[in-house]
């Protein structure tokens, strides 16, 4: 499923626009990483793409249809989102939370079907949360909770997956696990849009990178096109060594603390 962002502008209040005319086209099965400093509009763009926020100008299209014409349930059958922070109101178990991912596919009073159960089991496998199944979502660690919410999004069996800084609370092994889900989206052709701070991780996992600054898209392209030391300096105000790893062949960004003299 392809996603198009057309001239999207959004402001939480009139004085401070968060997005100023963003254009972005994501092909079906493509993964795009959103990078940029704090407050550059990454999270807002994800929320607008998810349909949770309505842009003042511009249109979001899923496979050509404007998202504003779809009901929340229709959107949720196509698109899943893992938010940056999410707290649970009550003491649901991890499995119960993951099963909530089936809500858009299930009738209001329907019992869990075999299809539901398979989707939940697969999602728990992929998100590596099997051993958490009966634990309370409020009793697990931040990283574990993040994986449970990823599991919930995967149980939705979406065509489009939006991830808002999903690796923040994760240890190295689970960062890699998480990003490998982004990387090998498989035959399913999952389209991924991910906001992420770790530029090197972004370069490895994403097909393309969009660099945002102050609500505008500065440059979009392949990791090696976008991640240059001049772009990093211009947008983040940081000196960084940028290169291509000799064995992995992917772009890495190494911020230079020594050069700052501090």
């Amino acid at each position: 499923m392809h996603v198009t962002v057309e001239h999207v502008s959004f402001a939480y209040d009139a004085a401070t626009p968060a997005l100023r005319g963003i254009d972005l086209a994501i092909a079906s099965g493509e993964s795009v990483a959103l990078i940029g400093p704090n407050g550059s509009g990454k999270s807002t763009l994800l929320k607008v793409v998810s349909g949770a926020l309505h842009p003042q100008n511009g249109t979001i299209r899923l496979n050509g249809s404007p998202i504003a014409t779809l009901s929340p349930r229709q959107i949720a059958r196509r698109l899943a989102m893992v938010e940056q922070e999410r707290s649970m109101g009550f003491d649901f178990t991890a499995r119960e939370v993951i099963a909530m991912g089936r809500i858009p596919h299930r009738g209001r009073f329907a019992r869990e079907s075999i299809k539901d159960r398979l989707a939940i089991d697969r999602a728990m496998e992929l998100a590596d949360v099997r051993e958490l199944a009966d634990r309370s979502i409020r009793a697990v660690s931040g990283g574990e909770r993040q994986r449970v919410f990823l599991g919930m999004a995967l149980a939705q069996e979406p065509d489009v997956l939006l991830l808002d800084e999903p690796t923040t609370h994760l240890d190295l092994r689970h960062q890699v696990g998480f990003m490998s889900i982004v990387q090998d989206r498989g035959e399913a052709g999952l389209t991924v849009l991910i906001a992420i701070h770790d530029l090197t991780l972004a370069a490895q996992a994403a097909d393309r990178i969009a660099l945002l600054s102050e609500g505008r898209s500065v440059v979009t392209g392949t990791p090696s096109e976008v991640l240059t030391s001049s772009n990093v300096r211009r947008v983040f105000g940081v000196e960084a060594a940028v290169g291509e790893h000799p064995e992995l062949g992917t772009t890495y960004v190494l911020p230079n603390l020594i050069g700052r003299g501090g």
Binding site: R86, S87, D91, R135
Partner: protein, 339 residues
């Protein structure tokens, strides 16, 4: 320590259904007039035996049976409202009265008692209108220009409107300058099932049926709402639609219950908690279980209220608070983190 894989939902439901039946019969047998169990049953089912007097029959059929049924209805209405409010506000401290319903109803009831002599028709009507007015004002305040409802504003608006209506009620009580009317108002505010008759049961049954039915329809969406408003949206639940329907259902349930029995406290707060500990937070189980438990709790509280100082009768709200508050404190102390 948190392994609660299988929750004993079904057994608890059947246990509670049994408890409802036991409560029903106990409520008919127990009272200030002593009626032997055999005679109570005979009166109930219209069996002719030598010992059943017409007085027994009237007490059982016209006084105790409607009173027990009203208790079941009011208790379940308050408990389910509590579940819905706690789910809506994602806060285990929310009660059916969080939007100022109790204060609005009290003002309406006080007006009816002072100016319409608290007639059987105007008292419930006044209470219902007052309750609905309070919620409508709060909802109107919380609905922003973008037509979205801010749950935060709902809570604050509820506090403010509740205080305003309480002030009006206090003023009315002050104006009444003591006397019988004052004690009527106070007794009504403390709550009780003393006005039970078949008409009140017949009025309340369909309202409670529809209200609990509506909350059950939205039970799954309430589960989704515990992900937050945005989280609920991402699994296809429109939080604004959900809020609107739940407010309608809980206002109907609470206002009708309060109109018939006054502002009985603690049921809507404690029962959802206790049931959540027993069956977990899934609203598809929590709603029916709370309905049954809330009904039983009120019937037993009412039995205590009727008998402990018999022939005098305590306001049942005193009993529910006496039983509910210490139990709630016990829960906080022992399982605080899990509430």
């Amino acid at each position: 320590m948190d392994t609660r894989g299988r929750r004993p939902g079904r057994r608890i439901v059947w246990g509670l259904v049994g408890l409802v039946l036991v409560s029903l019969f106990a409520g008919i047998v127990i009272g200030s007039a002593t009626i032997p169990v055999r005679d109570a049953f005979a009166s109930l089912f219209g069996l002719a035996t030598d010992s059943v007097t017409p007085v027994h029959r009237v007490i059982v059929r016209q006084i105790r049976l409607p009173r027990v049924l009203l208790g079941l209805l009011v208790g379940s209405a308050l408990a389910v409202s509590g579940v819905a409010m706690q789910g809506l506000f994602r806060n285990p401290l929310a009660s059916p009265y969080v939007l100022g319903i109790a204060s609005g109803a009290s003002t309406g009831a006080a007006l009816a008692i002072l100016f319409a002599s608290g007639s059987a028709f105007f008292l419930p009507l006044g209470a219902f209108v007052g309750a609905a007015a309070a919620v409508l004002i709060v909802y109107g305040l919380a609905r922003g220009r973008d037509r979205r409802t801010s749950i935060f504003t709902l809570i604050l608006g509820g506090v403010a409107i509740g205080a305003l209506f309480s002030a009006v009620t206090s003023f009315l009580i002050y104006l009444s300058s003591g006397g019988e009317k004052l004690s009527d108002v106070l007794f009504w505010i403390m709550g009780g099932l003393g006005r039970a008759n078949w008409a009140s049961v017949a009025t309340l049954s369909p309202i409670v049926g529809v209200g609990i039915g509506a909350v059950l329809v939205f039970a799954r969406d309430l589960n989704a709402l515990s992900l937050g408003e945005e989280g609920a949206f991402h699994v296809g639940v429109n939080p604004d639609t959900l809020t609107r329907w739940l407010l309608c259902a809980t206002t109907l349930l609470t206002a009708a219950a309060v109109a018939m029995a006054g502002t009985i406290g603690f049921i809507g707060l404690v029962i959802p908690h206790v049931m959540r500990l027993l069956v977990g937070p899934d609203h598809r189980r929590l709603v029916p279980v709370s309905a049954l438990a809330g009904g039983c709790f009120l019937v037993w509280s009412d039995m205590v209220a009727r008998t402990v100082l018999a022939p005098a009768e305590l306001p049942v709200g005193v009993i529910t608070a006496f039983l509910g508050a210490p139990f709630f404190l016990y829960l906080l102390k022992t399982r605080g983190a899990r509430l």
